[in-house]
């Protein structure tokens, strides 16, 4: 039996395939966090006074707060004075097009299989690339601006669209929401900003590739998406990061605002460096993502495929404020080796006849620990609120763990909340059955895992689904025999 389990372990313990470092000069602010550093970040970005004030206020609040201890994860204490809070790739002047991009940078993207040219030419995806905190290239901007869609970096939005930023930033995730959101508010470096005007259906998927690239530099992005009445947007976020020995903190904030009958679809494929097989290094991914269905009959849908990071702590949520609004959460979280994930969602029903649906699939392998944590709350005003939750866990081997922590709070008697959960295991019996049919172990694991995750994968836009499938396979395969 021992021998059998070893085969399974080998199958699921493969090396991180995107572990390379791009050699680009970076412009770095000294280590540590204090008022001077915050002022320096704000100055480097040429920010207006109100933005600096906001940051400083957040910093003051953050100092009074405590790091949360309730997630089902363990890690050594983080020294916040040992982190570099700002690093920007040196760019001498503004780029006119993708052709002017630093060739080294372009090679990185090509290694990742993200050919901007290809994307631009074939798929009609506008890519706003965030590399080490500063957007270095934005494409399709012209086409988008013709229909009034604003898609730019957060830094640019602060300069160009201060009224929108002032109105909505912090309106969904307040600066004091939690410890990491407050930290982000104080030191965020960049991110994406999208504004879809009234009645516009954004004709292309908006996409950002995030990438962490400077040693010891935390990433503090902030994304804000606003969909006006009767508009629609689909936003894609994908990530890979180079191999690192030291832990890197990532504390992003994403805010979505959907007005009357607007729909926002937000998809993520996350593949940050998970640490080595012994559990050294890897990204700490402590992210706050939340959307608000502010208007009637609006809809927000989160889809995530999480395969990376040493620790994931993330609950993309929807506040269903508008009557008849809909919130959805589709998730595949895969953990391997010593990875830890505590992830799930919150569906807060405030409006009447609001509906939410949760489909969470956890895949655990190696020595990893994978927890689903979800809250469904129907407030006393949420007449006829409906929720359906389904949480499935798949275990590979017998050294990993899976947990489900559903929290249900119903304060309105007409609300209906359903929760279903299953746990299954890929055992040697199943693998042998596949092999006896001529399907080798790697192919069998990919077949089973993709079958398990299918319901979520189907929610991803086509080009993303292919990448996500590859990721699941890469994360579990590679070194049989």
């Amino acid at each position: 039996m021992k021998e059998e389990l070893n085969t399974l372990e080998q199958t699921v313990s493969s090396d991180y395939k995107y572990g390379f470092v791009t050699d680009i000069d970076t412009d770095i602010v000294p280590k540590g966090i204090n008022e001077t550093v915050i002022r320096l970040i704000s100055a480097k970005k040429n920010e207006p006074g109100w933005m600096l004030d906001w940051r400083l206020k957040a910093y003051t609040q953050w100092q009074k707060m405590e790091e949360p201890k309730w997630p089902n994860v363990t890690y050594p204490p983080i020294n916040y004075q040992d982190i570099i809070y700002y690093a920007a790739p040196k760019q001498k002047e503004q780029l006119k097009g993708l052709d002017e991009l630093d060739p080294e940078l372009r090679r990185t993207f090509e290694k990742l299989g993200i050919s901007l040219d290809e994307q631009k030419r074939l798929s009609g995806v506008a890519v706003d690339v965030v590399m080490d905190s500063v957007s270095v290239a934005t494409s399709f901007k012209k086409q988008l601006s013709e229909i009034g869609v604003i898609f730019c970096s957060m830094s640019e939005a602060i300069q160009q669209h201060p009224d929108l930023v002032k109105k909505y930033m912090g309106s969904v995730v307040p600066m004091t929401d939690n410890y990491f959101a407050a930290l982000n508010a104080a030191v965020f470096t960049d991110g994406s900003f999208c504004y879809i005007p009234k009645g516009v259906r954004c004709p292309m998927e908006l996409s950002t590739y995030f990438r962490i690239n400077t040693e010891n530099s935390g990433q503090f992005e902030r994304t804000l998406i606003i969909a006006e009445d009767d508009s629609y947007v689909s936003y894609l976020e994908g990530c890979t990061a180079p191999m690192r020995d030291e832990n890197q903190l990532h504390a992003a904030v994403v805010e979505l605002v959907a007005l009357n009958k607007a729909e926002i679809k937000y998809s993520t494929v996350q593949n940050w460096y998970p640490g080595d097989k012994e559990g050294h290094g890897g990204i700490y991914n402590f992210v706050t993502k939340r959307g608000i269905c502010l208007g009637e009959r609006s809809k927000i849908s989160w889809t995530q495929v999480e395969t990376g990071s040493a620790i994931t702590w993330k609950y993309p949520s929807v506040i269903l404020k508008g009557d008849y609004s809909i919130g959805e959460f589709y998730s595949v979280a895969l953990t391997n080796n010593h990875q830890q994930a505590d992830t799930g969602t919150k569906m807060i029903h405030l409006g009447k006849n609001t509906k939410s649906r949760i489909v969470a699939k956890g895949i655990s392998a190696g020595y990893s620990n994978n927890s689903y944590r979800g809250l469904v709350r129907a407030s006393k005003w949420a007449t006829n609120a409906r929720n359906y939750s389904q949480c499935d866990s798949l275990l590979l081997g017998d050294k990993c763990g899976a947990n489900t922590f559903p929290y249900i709070e119903v304060k309105n008697t007409t609300a209906i909340v359903e929760h279903e959960a299953t746990t299954s295991k890929i055992g040697e019996d199943q693998l042998f059955y596949c092999r006896q049919r001529g399907i080798d172990t790697e192919t069998a694991v990919a077949l089973i895992v993709n079958g398990f995750a299918k319901e979520v994968m189907n929610q991803l836009p086509m080009e993303f689904a292919v990448e996500a499938q590859k990721l699941l396979a890469i994360s579990l395969e590679g070194s049989v025999g």
Binding site: M1, E3, E4, T7, S424, E428, D429, Q430, F432, Y433, C434, R435, Q436, R437, G438, I439, D440, T441, T443, L447, I448, G451, F452, A453, K454
Partner: protein, 257 residues
């Protein structure tokens, strides 16, 4: 086609097979009968290459190749098929997708192009009729929520799709009522072919009423103690396994089922 010489095998250090010799030629149907614990299923799993079943002595060649050196998937791709006694459920993977993957992995091994959707569906339809399997089963996850009879029929259907050189049916009759047994047996009979050998492993003779073997072997204590024609099965049915014991002068406690 299959030539087994003096196979000894252990599971977790426990000796189960004590020197088995068996020769199977194309087109032949062999039956191995024996009481519980005699090593019947062990033999099937040793031939299929299950991990943890260690061959300590002896050899096995399959189509001229050393069977024991091959990983299980290559044995399958070479044309060895095992119909499982307890078919495994694979949630989330549709039966059609599973079989398509298996068929194409085998083709890849043989240097052939994968079957395209049209050719695959054509073969699927043909074989469905052959073994009388319902289309609705094929869109469901592999064996998930299948009845005992459906699981066994699905095994025979996969056998039909994969067109093996040697099919080992491990207790395919267990857990089937007489109607299901008849359907399964009919399917197997449809798959009899001059180039295909079949090895039936069974406790009872009743499957052999429908699937007439050319040879019957009695397995006892990890050894083949008697071989004969189909009449041997009837003799066993009539006298029970005890007569073998008596004949061999053994005092071991044989369990009757």
């Amino acid at each position: 086609m299959l030539s087994i010489k003096n196979i000894h095998a252990t599971i977790e250090g426990k000796q189960i097979l004590n020197g088995i010799d068996l020769d199977i030629k194309p087109g032949e149907v062999h039956a191995i009968m024996g009481p519980n614990g005699s090593g019947k299923s062990t033999l099937a799993l040793v031939l299929a290459g299950r991990d943890g079943y260690e061959v300590t002595q002896g050899s096995a060649t399959f189509s001229g190749k050393n069977l024991l050196e091959m990983p299980p998937e290559d044995r399958a791709r070479e044309g060895l098929f095992l119909a499982f006694q307890y078919p495994v459920e694979i949630p989330g993977v549709s039966t059609t997708n599973f079989i398509k993957t298996a068929v194409n992995e085998k083709r890849k091994y043989r240097g052939e192009e994968p079957l395209d959707a049209v050719a695959f569906l054509k073969r699927l339809k043909e074989k469905m009729a052959l073994v009388n399997i319902d289309q609705s089963l094929l869109s469901r996850s592999v064996n998930e929520g299948f009845s005992g009879g459906e699981k066994k029929r699905n095994e025979i259907f996969q056998m039909a799709m994969l067109e093996p050189k040697l099919a080992i049916l491990d207790e395919t009759d267990s857990g089937l009522d007489i109607d299901a047994l008849r359907i399964v047996a009919k399917g197997v009979n449809q798959l009899r072919h001059k180039d295909r050998a079949i090895l039936i492993i069974t406790h009872y003779q009743r499957l052999l009423d429908y699937l007439t073997p050319d040879f019957v072997h009695v397995l006892y204590n990890g050894r083949i103690v008697r071989s004969g024609g189909k009449e041997l099965a009837l003799e066993l049915e009539e006298k029970g396994y005890d007569f073998i014991k008596d004949e061999l002068g053994l005092t071991a406690d044989l369990q009757a089922e």
